[in-house]
Symmetry: C2
Subunit: 239 residues, 2 copies
């Protein structure tokens, strides 16, 4: 049975590989060949580790449903959250470098991920240039994202960081067809703080302050952005 257009879409949406498939524009034959990846779907409960530091590298992961946080650890116990990942994003790229995971990833919600065996992904991308280019874009995007966070951590005040964090979330929800102004946080204040280089109390104070100014409405993990423009403005001026 030849793959129909709808089969192609369902094939792709089966694993919800927004970052991996959608922008590529593959032919029917190429879509068929994606089966060679032999993707495994796995479920993870809230709190489960997807991988940990030192784990042998076998696959990168496409998040199908749910959300994860990634972090790196320092010997003395300090941790730094390096990102929050949601459906459609690729995770685990840190391990390519040394064949071992450098940091760890754990589920913030019950989640489903597709494992993409890396040697098969590489082999396939040798045959499909557009897949190759797309994978390179994904890695490069991760570099750009990380450097953006370096900018945030290195040269923004606490409230600017929190505003930037909320705006990024807003944009990512919008890109998924969800509301850019109303959403639930899947991470704790401590997680946000670690990500932004702040203590949880400072994050909390920033939220409260934004609320007093009518910029957002917060109720624990439920966020509503009331004034996107003001939030945006908060990043450019330190007021």
């Amino acid at each position: 049975m030849p793959p129909s257009s709808s089969a192609r879409l369902s094939n792709c949406s089966t694993c919800n590989l927004a970052e991996l498939c959608l922008p590529v524009g593959l032919t029917d034959e190429e879509m068929q060949r994606l089966d060679e990846l032999n993707m495994q779907k796995r479920s993870y409960a809230r709190g489960d580790y997807l991988y940990r530091g030192g784990d042998k590298f076998r696959a990168v992961f496409a998040i199908n449903r749910g959300a994860f946080k990634t972090r790196v650890l320092h010997e003395d116990g300090r941790e730094q959250v390096t990102g929050f990942q949601m459906a459609g994003e690729i995770i685990g790229l840190d391990a390519i470098s040394t064949d071992m995971h450098d940091g760890e990833a754990l589920a913030l919600e019950d989640s489903v991920v597709c494992e993409l065996p890396f040697h098969r992904l590489e082999a396939l991308s040798r045959d499909i240039p557009s897949l190759q280019r797309h994978f390179h874009r994904i890695m490069s995007r991760e570099i750009v994202r990380d450097q953006g966070i370096m900018l945030l951590l290195g040269s923004m005040r606490s409230e600017e960081r929190v505003a930037a964090f909320l705006l990024t979330l807003s944009q990512r929800y919008a890109a998924r067809g969800l509301s850019p102004t109303q959403f639930q946080l899947s991470m704790s204040r401590q997680d946000i703080g670690s990500y932004l280089g702040l203590k949880l109390e400072t994050v909390s104070r920033a939220f409260s302050n934004f609320q007093e100014k009518g910029i957002i409405a917060v109720r624990t993990r439920s966020i509503e952005i009331l004034d996107l423009a003001l939030l945006q403005a908060g990043i450019n001026s330190s007021c």
Copy 2:
């Protein structure tokens, strides 16, 4: 004339592509095919831009001689130095994502770089799996490095950051067969401060403090590390 073993080495050392060639273990034929990259060698004077934000992406760059700093800019003029690159390192990977450079790179010294046209590099890595894997490792290493800096920026005190900076430099010089304990800084205190999320005065104070403790000897841009162990210890405890 068939390529001899020495020819292979000279081919590689011509461009000093430590990160690109050395660990790959290519066959003679594959080494020959590297010529297809048609690498252009270019010189840059101190202060020259290698690329700037918004530049069209054409190539990644292998630094042959000299040193660069990369940085990202914020609308309001704030800048964040995202890294210092030296001979043998690959630079410009940020542009793959959008076909446009996101940040900028400028020469800290008079430098020479090889331009690697990216579409040719991709084409060649489709034919040479070990080159493909190696390029993936380079991108992944950049991600790991950036996440390490996020850890530094997000959860270390000022003196820990400066100590970590010096240790990283030390290791990189050692990896190049240079002295790990004596070297010249090619960047200003302000550059270091921007990289570490500190003001230049804070960097200067940290240097002075380390010197008083007998950990290092500083004379403007000349550094000698007197006690590597103490410097290392300074990262793990906040004393």
